[in-house]
Symmetry: D2
Subunit: 103 residues, 4 copies
């Protein structure tokens, strides 16, 4: 099984406050504790690693807002996998940026 | 660990034809082989069951388009879990429809 | 511009209750007031119509939870458009189900 | 109407090649031609601006892969809007990173 690049978004519902950064920070701490490359963006966290580890990390991170008292959690994962060549999160951006410069 | 309701979308890229129904049918067959409630919609498949089984099924189904020759697969999972009461995919719709009728 | 099939999910954050069906019902009412085919599923609402109308409906529906007091709203839209033939939400499901029966 | 932070993913189907960076670059060029803050990530493009402009940009960008010959296009938009204070894409990340450092 090869590497995947994935995006994960984990949010609590019904917390009584529109600020979610405390929950996102707790989730981030758990995601970072796995053997994965991670990148925090304004709309989620990007992970890179083998699919098993990514799903393991997401399963653990999905529990985190419940532990902080949330009664409902929504988790979204988008997985991108290529088998003709291995994806790399930095190469993906670089490849687009090169085309933006040269065309 | 309680039950979750989830939506799964698994699509191949670069297959040479805009029709995806053959790939979706193959994915559906694998999703249905797990011990989960499933519902095929025009935009994905809805699953209900414990989180471990849902992720197990999605991991297996994500491999399916590769086995049919796809070189790139994109998989999206949206998971909804409530801990104050157990979610049920039919109840979720019924609860909204009741409010649509009575308000 | 042709027809699209789309999925829309509109949720409030920080409302103080894990139950979202009241908000979903209000959103649904607005989506149904547009000239679109709609289908409520356990994980969102599926719309069919031209892209302009779909985006117009989503823009209006995105305001709805704010009007009910929410301070933060998350809206997700997934749009599927084919130009070699027109997509139809019921045909999409039928086409997969036929392949499930015959193969 | 206030500012939103959004993520956009626009991909062609059935192009015959698993490489999508050429299509993503064309989409990016159109997104950048609008009066919006943009940030290219390994899994999509993040936009910041008023909702009308974001949807206008996405509508235009959704046409781009068709112009390059794609017969099917999938577009996903995730919109985040807060009304108690204005969201800012860099502040969103900073706010999480501060909590990661201090707790």
């Amino acid at each position: 099984m090869g590497k995947v690049v994935a995006e994960v978004i984990i949010v609590p519902y019904g917390t009584g406050t529109p600020s979610l950064s405390r929950y996102v920070a707790d989730v981030e701490r758990v995601l970072k504790s796995y053997n994965l490359k991670t990148m925090l963006t304004p709309m989620g966290t990007i992970l890179e690693g083998d699919l098993d580890s990514v799903l393991e990390a997401v399963k653990a991170a999905h529990q985190v807002p419940f532990e902080s008292g949330a009664l409902r959690v929504g988790t979204t994962i988008r997985i991108d996998e290529r088998r003709d060549k291995e994806l790399d999160m930095y190469e993906k951006v670089k490849s687009v940026e090169e085309k933006l410069r040269t065309e």
